[in-house]
């Protein structure tokens, strides 16, 4: 896993988490809190188990964000079972429309990933739905996780994946933990393939959002006010774009204070002419 990889998983039920935790060798972190939290050794993948329902799902998503210090470029993944009126038991769906039955609102997870996965619409309900129909998936958490995750990251970095577990011919009440765990297990390679693509997107966002090492190094050695920090950030980014990255620390080495650094960088960059190359 490369620098910048940050994936946050939210599942409702413990059996839904087993195959994911196993793959990333996640262990439970030793803090007491409302929801259990697991993470891998590299701190790239974190997972929480929310329990059933929208309120828990939203709270657990927020809790995972806090505990894991999720960066703004983090990808968020909700994997879970769902009912479907016509879907085949065990089919994995990449959700691209989520309707919340109680609020009437719709959300649209952006399908930026190239994928051959079956795509479908999801209706999140507050009570288990047995009146399947309309070619919809039914769950009890998706809309809440999507809504919160979009606020914490962005729509293009949120994946909602649902596996058909029940329907007109499969009684939801007869589902066992083992069946749920197997359902996720059987789709795990497809899930990881999708999450692998999501990781690439998070890396792109990391590259865009993360400030260069030199910025932190300068801030460490000189004192900057809030507004000076903002100006420095802008100047360092421009410096980076000129591809003179390696020389930055060396260039400001002899400056006395923040003001002189900003002045020196501004003069240099304001006289910079972009070299577009040769015709």
């Amino acid at each position: 896993m490369g620098k910048g990889t940050a994936i946050r998983w939210v599942v409702a039920l413990e059996p839904e988490s087993i195959a994911i935790r196993k793959k990333y060798q996640m262990t439970r972190i030793a803090i007491s809190g409302p929801y259990p939290i697991f993470k891998d050794v590299a701190d790239c993948h974190w997972l929480t188990i929310s329990g059933v329902g929208r309120v828990h799902a939203a709270a657990a998503t927020m809790y995972l964000h806090q505990v894991s210090s999720a960066p703004p470029w983090a990808g968020w993944v909700n994997v879970g079972i769902a009912g479907h009126g016509a879907g085949t038991y065990g089919t994995l769906y990449l959700v691209d429309k989520i309707m919340d039955k109680s609020t009437g609102r719709s959300g649209y997870p952006g399908p930026v990933l190239s994928s051959n996965s079956v795509r479908g619409s999801l209706m999140t309900v507050d009570k288990p739905e047995t009146n399947y129909g309309n070619d919809l998936l039914f769950d009890m958490e998706g809309s809440a996780i999507f809504e919160i995750a979009c606020r914490l990251s962005c729509q293009q970095l949120v994946l909602v994946l649902k596996i058909v577990s029940d329907g007109p011919n499969i009684d939801v009440k007869k589902l066992t933990s083992k069946m749920i765990s197997d359902l996720v297990s059987n789709s795990i390679s497809e899930i990881f393939k999708l999450v692998g693509k999501l990781e690439i997107l998070t890396k792109k966002e990391y590259d865009r959002l993360e400030l260069p090492v030199a910025y932190y190094a300068i801030k460490k050695n000189w004192h900057f006010s809030q507004s000076q920090e903002y100006r420095l950030m802008h100047l360092v980014r421009r410096w980076q774009a000129t591809a003179q990255n390696k020389e930055l620390m060396h260039y400001v080495d002899e400056c006395k204070d923040a003001k002189s650094i900003i002045q020196k960088l501004s003069i240099k960059l304001d006289n910079h002419e972009v070299d577009w190359g040769k015709s």
């Binding site: 399908p111 962005c154 293009q156 421009r238 006289n271 972009v274």
Partner: protein
Amino acid sequence: MIDTIYIEKDVRDHPRTRSILGRFNKARHIPIERYGEVFNKRSQNFRLQKLKPALILARKHAGHILRAPEGFGIGSRKNFYFAHMFNCLYDCRYCFLQGMYTSANYVLFVNFESFVKQIDNLIWRYPNESLTFFSGYDCDSLALESITGFAAHILPVFKKFSSVLIEFRTKSIQIQPFERISPIDNCVIAFSLMPEVMSNALDHKAPPIKKRIQAMKILAEKGWKVGPRFDPLIHGKNWKTHYQELFDQVFTTVPNYAIHSVSYGPLRFPLAMFRDIFKLYPEEQLFSGPLPQRDGIVAYKSEIEEEMADFCHNNFTKFVSDTVVFQCTPEAQAIGRAK
């Protein structure tokens, strides 16, 4: 190319919707109430969405034709602009669309009839005035023409009104709608151009400059009026050499008699828009150079702007009459782009 199409329920049965859907058999169709549900939501990421934009088919309810500010490129006393689409197939780094919308999905308004009706109304409202209509300010006029057929639909309208000028602004080489019909005197196909080295770095996914010039030549030889547009002007090392080469190439390739007008304008962004674009593409070398802020507008220093403008004007007048050379005023651009 497009694997997701959102469709407003209101236009689901519109013949144009059906025809477009027929071209994307494998795309997933997602019904929506209004395009605003999907487009330009706050939590969207333009840069990521641009990797794989979806198509949104919608109905335009109001504001089909908008008044353009004074000094809006070429034009008459009364200028109007319209866009049958929001967003563009291309990904040009200086484009204001990056800072205008949080969403990179293409919104296509399928009710072309309403655009035609509004244009008709305006023309009848100002019977004794020369009007200019600009197409392609929230999108590229022709980039998705093979799917939308908008230019082909709207051209006959202008054929009826010879005193009204229509400009299609584009970087596309999809010129088939113009090849299929006889030239219309009051139509200008305006091509955005910049030196090839700059275009290679900035005009992502757009046709190469050479092909755009070639498209102008083809249209010109068929009898259409064309308009080279050097807007925005981009600064950098050896800019004079780059632009000189471009001008030579354009004006020796495109027959002079077919050039309706030449326009040029500086690179300018309203401050808020620049901030958004810079956040999206902080590594972009275009933004690394001197782009100070003056009165809420981010632009090259005045000396640079003036030097570039003088250089262009002096060169253009070697090839074409001064009367067909237009400078887009910065004020008009700023207002237009922040609309």
